[in-house]
Amino acid sequence: MKRFFRRFIEKFIEGIFFLSSSVTTLTVLLIVVFLFREGMGVFNKTPIEEGFAIALNKNNSVKEISSLDMKNIFDQNITNWKTLGGNNDSIILFRIDDISNYFTDEQLGDSLQYVPKCISSLVDSLTGIIAFIPEKYIDKHFAGRKLPMDKISVGKFLSGKEWFPTAQPASQLGVLPLILGTLWVSLMAILIALPLGLATAIYMAEIASEKVRRILKPLIELLAGIPSVVYGFFGLIVIVPLIQKVFDLPVGETGLAGSIVLGIMALPTIITISEDAIRTTPRAMKEASLALGANKWQTIARVIIPYSMSGITAAAILGIGRAIGETMAVLMVTGNAAVIPHTILEPVRTIPATIAAELGEAPQGGLHYEALFALGCILFILTMATNLLVEYISKKRKYNKQ
């Protein structure tokens, strides 16, 4: 009876464990599916705000306008249709809110019922007009010509160089500066953190006395427990002015500031994992090296580091993974200008910072919202690639051992 009862309990606990693991897996899968479903929506839309359209005078010979040209038109950088291959006619901008400059309230009607007719006559009378108006005002009596807009393509999304998601009338969704910014900052962070972390790991594993190690280890682990916004604040007040002074720059909020902060944040990961890898070097190997007459340094450089190389690589890649996904600290110190960085001493904008800063105000289900989710997909693919790389390298390590 007692045995039966114990077996029942065991089965029950097993069941709970199974359930929790399947729930976790399912949650992860659902999040990924959700992320991609929301993100892919962006490629089904045109850069024009939903429910709005661009209309031209029917005699205008311009057949299509790219979304970049659209921005330049509404920023008044392009002021003549000639630039776009049309007639020599200056461009007249018209937004729906400008309607009160052309018509009185009586003309629009007290329940705005005459608005479509007013717009139609306006578009008909001004040859240089480009009108950004609600789609529903374009009925069959409309005297102008509605401009067709292309959907956002994957290629344009990835290679576009301008990120102005709230630009009107046409959003500029080019994520290249954001991807490059993220990679720049993460790679530099690892270049800063790896030598420092590796040195600390070797020191702690091989050189330091047990007493020193016992003080150092918890201190380094404490570094991992500091909230990232504190790092960001520290970076803004200490590192940013320092960089500005040292490099004599006009502005201190640069990719380098982000890299330094991220480097400090990635240190605990790198130190802990590479120290573990160094410690797994078999005692027999170390002693064989020493017995052959190699001194301590030769043993470290020729035996221990080559043996634990795959572990150190894994530490570096996990550190990069940490850096790629970090949000708050980077948001505060990199300046967040969406330009393609040519050096690390320029402001950059990273993907996580963009999502964190913009998602709050992006209308749900809209183009901007979906574009941010698409950015999330890119980030997910980046971090998944680094994780797969770690998996691959640690598998290789097992193979080497046999």
Binding site: K71, D75, L112, P134, Q244, V251, M332, N336, E361
Partner: protein
């Protein structure tokens, strides 16, 4: 007997529900994050004075607030901009009549590093600086120093306001730095020599210098102060709005009357906005 009991039970429920409803003012306010701290403070004080009132204040942005207003999921939409033509048309389509009330004003100061000798700028110069066309301080009467323009993130209400009123609806230049908070802008400008940025009037600090602004091509320059903002002589001022449906007027009137009263306007000043001029 059982029937009587049931009836009695339902009766009490209905009566108590009605009584609850009568004594209760239940108002939902949603919208602009700029107006949010003000609405919260006003609601707090109002609820202290009227213990029966229950006011829920939710942020999310002016656009979100007006969208919720259209759906009927909020009683009051707070907004840091005037309702747009397109939104007006949607309300018209839904057959809803609404009222607009200005509850306070907000002004933006243009700030630079204290070591910058430029002390006044025209709107056209500001437009050039923030769209990236003017890149050196010597072009606007300063030293030969690169201009570093700081802006808020695009999710901020001030971002749109500045774009509409100062940049004439043009887009910011891509080299403009975006900061997540007003505090970060003040910090960065205080430590960067060529910096320029904009902040709410209330956030002005000693570590930065404010610049006089001209909207008439340099004829008169006006300093960003509360009295100037109140009299509208300072140009970068915007009203903060509440929108409510005409049919809800009776319900929201006590709250709006309170905000417009002297006590309510005192709170406006305390939260850091510009009280309405009486």
């Amino acid at each position: 007997m059982k029937k009587i009991k049931t009836i009695a039970l339902f009766g009490t429920i209905i009566i108590s529900a009605v009584a609850f409803k009568l004594g209760d003012i239940n108002i939902k306010i949603k919208g602009s994050d700029t107006v949010l701290p003000l609405s919260q403070k006003e609601a707090e004080v109002f609820m202290k004075k009227n213990p029966m009132a229950k006011i829920t204040v939710i942020g999310g942005g002016s656009g979100v607030g007006i969208a919720a207003f259209l759906d009927g999921t909020t009683d009051i939409a707070m907004s840091s901009r005037k309702i747009k033509m397109s939104e007006k048309m949607k309300l018209q389509d839904a057959g809803k009549a609404y009222k607009e009330v200005v509850i306070a004003n907000d002004a933006l100061s243009i700030i630079v590093n204290p070591n910058n000798k430029v002390s006044q700028l025209t709107r056209e110069q500001l437009e050039g600086i923030f769209t990236g066309k003017i890149t050196n301080w010597k072009d606007v009467g300063g030293d030969d120093e690169k201009i570093i323009a700081y802006s808020r993130e695009s999710s901020s209400g001030t971002y749109e306001f500045f774009k509409e009123h100062v940049l004439n609806n043009k887009n910011y230049g891509s080299t403009v730095l975006n900061m997540p908070a007003t505090g970060a802008i003040v910090q960065s400008i205080s430590q960067t020599k060529g910096a320029i940025g904009y902040i709410g009037l209330a956030y002005m600090e000693k570590t930065v210098k404010d610049v006089k602004v001209s909207y008439d091509k340099g004829k008169t320059y006006v300093e960003a102060t509360v009295p100037n903002a109140q009299s509208k002589t300072y140009p970068i001022t915007r009203p903060l709005y509440y929108y409510y449906l005409t049919k809800d007027a009776a319900k929201v009137k006590p709250l709006i009357d309170f905000i417009l009263s002297a006590d309510g306007q005192k709170i406006v000043g305390e939260v850091g906005y510009v009280p309405l001029s009486k």
